[in-house]
């Protein structure tokens, strides 16, 4: 019995060989924050929200395999402060204006910010110049809100088999690009029913003509913090 457990904050957690720390803890009902992770896709490891200490060393729980005897720390003041800083960095990197965003209340970035009590983004706002691509009849992309999680990239490649999205550019020039002769979404193979449209955890990929349907107070993260969500990576369905 002892051979197939590791500990999370000193609590023994069972796992099956091959599971990552995130997978095993999810199965045990313990919350590790994440943004770019989704169980249907290969782990990405880029957002760093799921960083935990494994035997004292920072690792991403979504990519690190669980092993017998590992000592994993999740809920520590240092790690929580780190998570808040990550969210702050993401907020100042784009233009995340919640009051007019269709995803507000259903947004994972916002929910993580609430979870870690971000009262201010703290860092100097970068105010990048990014556009909206509204060329598609049914779907629009608000690049100001993209957090480079690559969920849409993975979904379009591995589930939809359309390769509509990719990331291009290096460093802060990294951005989402669209696979079409003009670079516009309207000229791509994307359909509103694609998995890639549903998986965006923030308000970057938005279905048109649907917005603000759910009143404030009744949206997913109005009711419960993201850590309390039973299946916290089930991205609220784009309607």
């Amino acid at each position: 019995m002892a051979e197939t457990t590791f500990t999370i904050d000193e609590i023994p957690i069972p796992f099956t060989p091959g599971q990552t720390i995130l997978e095993a803890t999810k199965a045990a009902g313990i919350y590790i924050p994440h943004l770019c992770y989704h169980p249907e896709f290969k782990a990405h490891g880029g957002c760093k929200m799921c960083t935990v200490l494994v035997n004292g060393k920072p690792q991403t729980a979504c990519t690190h395999k669980a092993a017998a005897g590992q000592e994993v720390e999740v809920d520590t003041p240092e790690l929580n402060a780190m998570r808040r800083t990550l969210v702050q960095m993401l907020f100042i990197e784009g233009n995340h204006f919640c009051p007019s965003c269709e995803k507000s209340g259903e947004c994972q970035l916002q929910a993580l910010a609430y979870e870690y009590e971000m009262l201010t983004p703290h860092f100097v706002e970068l105010y990048p110049h990014r556009n909206v691509d509204a060329s598609h009849p049914d779907v629009l992309i608000e690049f100001n809100r993209c957090v480079l999680c690559e969920l849409c990239v993975r979904a379009s490649r591995d589930i939809d088999h359309k390769d509509v999205f990719a990331i291009a550019g290096r460093g802060r020039d990294a951005k989402l690009i669209v696979n079409s002769p003009t670079g516009k979404l309207g000229d791509s193979a994307l359909a509103v029913t694609d998995r890639a449209v549903q998986v965006c955890p923030v308000g970057a990929i938005i279905v048109k003509r649907v917005g603000f349907e759910t009143p404030i107070g009744e949206r997913t993260y109005d009711k419960n913090p993201i850590s309390a969500e039973a299946d916290s990576c089930e991205v609220p369905e784009a309607r």
């Binding site: 233009n95 204006f97 009051p99 609430y114 201010t120 983004p121 706002e125 105010y127 110049h129």
Partner: protein, 184 residues
């Protein structure tokens, strides 16, 4: 800041709305009857509610709105110089908010598009020395002066403002429970 009840010296509050819609001030008034309780504990210095034009020494300054022109800079500097604690209230004060949507546009393009001679169509941007000049962008308050606390919302609810304010006045670390923390 003196503890209320000890000397019966009231906490002095100053408020202002810079590049804001006054929604946060309206939300402040949503504390409704608790205004009477507040009146026992606090007095207002410079504020749209008192119409006092310049700030003297005060304990807490509540800043609504971001910083978009020279007047905003002067006002926020005056409040920072006179207040022991400065709180950025609402989305605009914290991240620029709605007015900051102009940040990716050139301010001169905006001015020349808006201000045109109706007869000739030529740009004629007003340049009276009484008019505060706009900055190239709209900035959050914490990029102009040091901010001690931030209270997010658009606007933060009356309950959130009440919780925050009473925490501050009573010397506690201001903390909002989950239901009171909103960015919209």
């Amino acid at each position: 800041m003196t503890t209320p009840g000890q000397d019966k010296v009231k906490v002095r509050l100053a408020t202002t709305s810079l590049a804001g819609c006054f929604g946060c001030h309206m939300s402040f008034l949503d504390i409704d009857e608790r205004l009477f309780e507040l009146a026992e504990l606090a007095e207002f210095d410079r504020s749209p509610l008192t119409d006092i034009k310049h700030c003297g020494p005060c304990d807490i300054a509540l800043i609504e709105g971001g910083v978009c022109n020279t007047d905003n800079v002067h006002v926020v500097r005056e409040l920072r110089a006179n207040a022991k604690i400065l709180v950025a209230v609402g989305a605009c004060a914290i991240n620029g908010g709605l007015p900051a949507l102009r940040n990716k546009l050139d301010v001169n393009d905006i001015l020349t598009q808006v201000y045109r001679d109706p007869r000739t169509g030529e740009p004629c941007v007003p340049n009276s020395p009484e008019l505060p000049l706009p900055l190239d962008m709209v900035y959050p308050v914490n990029e102009i002066v040091r901010v001690d606390y931030s209270l997010p919302g658009c606007p933060p609810s009356g309950d959130a403002i009440w919780k925050f304010l009473t925490d501050l006045i009573l010397g506690r670390m201001p903390r909002l429970e989950y239901s009171l923390l909103n960015y919209d």
